[in-house]
Symmetry: C2
Subunit: 664 residues, 2 copies
């Protein structure tokens, strides 16, 4: 009976001396990677113990991307929670892998016991000889002076004829301790069962303001299809508003067959541009640009100009084909074939989507297909794109995405994938766990203070934030929420303030700044005259636009660290059901947010300022600065009455300056 055999049924593993478990951070015990950002500190914790009273030591072995060998970081013991900890600096993007290793420090154990026995006046002759053996064993691992000194100590400890006092003080000397720490060999080394993974993304992956627009609408005349050049001309305005990312719906050639007309009409009229999501025609597919928009050269120029303005370009990645897509001719076997040999269009019975062919991800040519899908990413990365908004990932295999994201990020660790998955929670979370950098959320459908507090409490919990980064879009071409339809501009200002302050990642879709809120019909979240099916011209200078609100918000976001994280969020008593009151903490720059969810009438609330959390004494006077107006106020005590008038403003963001006096 080989003792090793019982350990996890693995015959090759001899039994571990220590227990090394409870590793954190970890997602499903290492099956998936937790997410962090470049510059973050990673605090690794572990339960490490053994039988008896031996002194233990432990370290984290962590391999950074691009490194051959892991770096070693010593762990320290925390008595309160009986755990070991080490902190690592994550200085580059990519996948980091770490494991935890513990062992018995035999010399420290021996030294500690010797110390106690000497203190108790016991005879330690035998102990000194044991120590001599340990030091002797260390000698071969040391060079030069160290080797000499170890030999010296071996002699002293090992010489029964020498003066006991001399031997004891040598045994307990700091020099010997240092030498043995350097050259003593670890005993009973035990490693964590698995290697744990950390996906580290560049900081923009965790903090950015997105602006979505259709380049074809960058025109002053609805009869003239906008081009990349036109779109380029609109970039300064977007940059001035303080956005970081401009996201374009698909820019590829659009199918003719069953092309949709305005307002999703089954038949397109002559000259109707069609939906950009019906990808592919005689000019090409996912790696081509629509001639109406310009050339690939034009696109690259657009990207370069954006970059010069501090803007990053994000593309849409929608894996579906119009009947005119080149793949349909070249690889009919990548689609679903009907008994009569024709290709199946998309449907969700009894609904039919005849302008789109779904892809058969499990076809016989699966590997060639999956590679081709990957090559689309590589192609656009070669054009300078690093961020992709993935259309409906939950309608494609989960395993496909895990493979795909792994493949692309291995070569291009700074690639960002945003999942547009509006589906049940477990599917959204699974997509985030298997690798999506960011995710759309239910934010759009959370419109009361209670709903928002509940949902944000879930998303800001560290165990969720470890893998899920919500990107809060206030609107999208598919979602014009009733709250905006009925609430008008005040509702828009409210949602803007919420999205931009609750989440480090947020976005709006073009037209939001004009409070566009006409649905195609009552009860629908679709826009009237949706840009998905036609070109739309807008007057950005129209009176009452939200540009000042947006510009100010994005400015504050950039200057306030508290708005660049989500785990620092907590909710507090607002004294009014329509008012959401929250704290976003940051050393020395704590922010308080208070937003009214009532776009129709003014409400008055009495906020309960979390003084203790802010380190302010109960009766202290403290200063807060209204970041939206710059006004400075002196407050005293926790209760603060506040008035919200939708006609004037949606809410407040105060930066709290430390309080004085009244401590406790």
């Amino acid at each position: 009976m080989e003792p090793g055999r019982a350990i996890d049924g693995d015959p090759d593993r001899t039994p571990p001396h220590l227990v090394v478990s409870g590793i954190a951070p970890a997602l499903r015990d290492g099956r998936y990677a937790v997410k962090r950002l470049v510059g973050d500190q990673l605090r690794v914790g572990a339960d490490i113990f053994t039988d008896g009273h031996d002194v233990l030591a432990a370290r984290v072995l962590c391999r950074a991307p691009g490194e051959r060998r892991p770096a070693s970081t010593p762990m320290t013991y925390s008595f309160e929670d009986d755990r070991w900890y080490a902190t690592l600096s994550l200085d580059r993007p990519g996948e980091w892998r770490f494991m935890v290793e513990g062992w018995i420090d035999r010399f420290a154990t021996w030294r500690g016991e010797l110390d106690k026995k000497v203190g108790a006046g016991q005879d330690v002759g035998s102990e000194l000889l044991e120590g001599a053996d340990q030091v002797r064993e260390a000698e071969p691992h040391a060079r030069g002076t160290d080797h000499g000194r170890l030999a010296h100590y071996t002699a002293v400890l090992g010489d029964p004829s020498a003066d006991p006092g001399v031997r004891v003080s040598a045994a307990l000397s700091v020099e010997l301790q240092v030498l043995m720490t350097a050259h003593g060999q670890p005993y009973g080394v035990t490693r964590s069962d698995r290697r744990y993974r950390v996906r580290v993304d560049r900081r923009e992956a965790g903090f950015a303001a997105w602006y979505e627009f259709f380049p074809r609408s960058a025109t002053s005349d609805a009869r003239r299809h906008g081009t990349f050049a036109d779109a380029e001309a609109s970039l300064p305005r977007i940059a001035a508003l303080g956005f970081d990312v401009v996201y374009l719906p698909p820019i590829h050639p659009i199918g003719h067959t069953h092309r949709k007309g305005p307002n999703n009409a089954l038949k397109a009229g002559k000259g109707d541009p069609g939906s950009p999501w019906a990808i592919g025609n005689e000019h090409g597919g996912h790696t081509a640009v629509s001639p109406e928009l310009g050339t690939l050269e034009d696109f690259r120029h657009f990207v370069a100009t954006a970059r010069s303005l501090g803007l990053e370009v994000a593309l849409d990645y929608a894996l579906q084909c119009s009947p005119d897509h080149p793949w349909v001719r070249e690889h009919p076997d990548w689609f679903f074939i009907r008994p009569d040999g024709t290709i199946k269009y998309a449907e969700n019975p009894p609904k039919k989507y005849e302008d789109i062919y779904p892809i058969n991800f499990w076809c016989d040519q699966r590997e060639a297909l999956w590679d081709a899908c990957r090559d689309i990413f590589l192609f656009w990365i070669a054009q300078g794109v690093r961020t992709f908004r993935v259309d409906n990932p939950h309608t494609k295999p989960f395993a496909f995405w895990e493979w795909m994201i792994g493949e692309v990020q291995r070569e291009h660790p700074d690639t960002v994938f945003l999942a547009e998955a509006f589906t049940r929670p477990k599917r959204m979370y699974t997509l985030a766990q298997l690798g999506f950098t960011q995710s759309y959320t239910y934010f759009t459908w959370r419109n009361t203070a209670a709903e928002l507090a509940e949902y944000l409490t879930e998303l800001s919990a560290p165990e969720t934030a470890d893998f899920f980064r919500g990107n809060f879009f206030a609107n999208t071409p598919d979602i014009l929420h009733e709250y905006l339809q009925l609430g008008g501009p005040p509702a828009f200002r409210t949602r803007l303030l919420l999205a931009g302050t609750l989440s480090p990642l947020y976005g709006i879709y073009s037209g939001f700044e004009l409070s566009e809120n006409l649905p195609v019909r009552e009860g629908s979240e679709e826009y009237l005259d949706s840009e998905k099916y036609q070109v739309r011209v807008r007057d950005w200078t129209a009176p009452g636009n939200l540009d000042p609100d947006i510009a100010r918000l994005n400015q504050i976001r950039r200057s306030e660290p508290a708005l660049q994280s989500i785990t620092n969020l907590s909710f507090h008593e607002s004294g009014h059901p329509d008012v959401l009151f929250y704290l976003k903490g940051a050393w020395g720059r704590d922010l308080l947010g208070a937003v009214s969810l009532n776009p129709r009438e003014a409400v008055e609330a009495e906020l309960a300022v979390p003084l203790e959390r802010l380190g302010i004494g109960e009766n202290a006077t403290y200063e807060v600065e209204d970041l939206l107006t710059g006004e400075r106020l002196r407050w005293k005590g926790a209760r603060q009455p506040v008035r919200f008038d939708p006609a004037v403003r949606a809410g407040y963001i105060w930066r709290v300056a430390g309080g004085e006096g009244g401590g406790g």
Copy 2:
């Protein structure tokens, strides 16, 4: 780029079609086994989903101990929590292993879509041909009539010239559905990453009352060392008290060298019996019995008599040796050798335990040593023993125990291991996770209502109960708590009632029934004249003994299912800080417990009966039976004033009969 490659880094795994995760019950994602009892129902849950709208199916594949092939149990979908469930009956002890498997039911998917399309009046000619293909593929998997019927359906569905109405009703017929459920082949089969383990123990492992006593004290004359025969004579009394297990401290030969005298004196006097935990002398070691107690034959007779009285015998397993133990001569290399060649005695500097040699579990002859340790268990199992109380397991390697318990239970699945580990929580929990059937607890040191509620809430939580079974000893030879020292008989009655009603496993150590509570010195938890070092004679008929309380309690425990489980425990408002008020639920036989922790004075409390939990209307009248007196009471409403007089009783256990009327 082979897509499979990215899946968990395993080149052989092709990507899974489905996501199969969130398997429960599971301990550290399958690393350890969860615990259940024979006769329990195991409810397996899993998150199973895929992309798109396909109809899924799933099953649990579970291999029972002794079976070659796993049995298949279909899982059903629960919409509320978006999970799949199946329930298995655990009909035998041993290690059960299960995995979860999900797949796409292509026929059900096709049938559902066809149904919708027909309903929408769409042309389904192509769909019928697809159906024909599916049925044709199933034919080879059917025999006889079924094969014929499938061929028939293939023909009907596949014949464009046949009447559409006929083809559709054939396609949607129940017969075809049944045939395809039986013979259609699963598609995209996906299994859980791991196999999950369930350790199933015989019921006594989870519900039993223990009685510990020293056989050498089963004598009427302290000068005469009790024998197995004497101990046998005391079994009827113990059986009459309603105990299930009699646990004996070590029965092996006791060492002479440095033998301890009464009250742990460093020198034993002539005729002092010594501590049974100093195991081994010239008569043998761990597989011998002390001649003073009798012969192995006598012991087997003792075990047989116990069994005839419905009592099971539990032995102590203490891995340590007196200097006179045979192993010291035969295998000095199994111990720690000092530089002068002598063997190291146990110590915890500056404390010394010269009568005991610790074992070196990592010696060069480790495998022989570990096997010898295992053979001790096998030896006593051969003598009819099935339950072992393991002494200080936390001072031996954790890996040793995981291996040991696995080895023994593989051959003898009904073996019970009780861990006597009073150490930090993670170590206690780890020992339970790696295999110990039961564990000692901190119960002895939880003596206020608040402490008990907090600790029991932790132990009764399903995630804890999945691996940790506390055995609540009210006292042990090592632990006479101050609460008993100061509280006297009332305190004993209180602790007895708490141990026996809060936990399905509890025990007392002989002398408890006489309220023995003299410590060796003030502030010590050691008994005066401890039985560990001398023979003690007792008068079981002494007035005021607790026999009636014990007998009644054990009787109630056996008749009330509510007392045979712990996850059914909840605490409720008692209206007094000294009073613990709790509910133990069982279908139709809910019990309420109320115990005063104040052994000195009477207290009055107003209990808040959890009517809703009991299914009783707010204003209903309901009957409760006082199980300690048999008295029946009619209560109305939630508030019930109760008086506790330590001179009379420690508390109450009421069985609640369903209420009438007033349905709240």
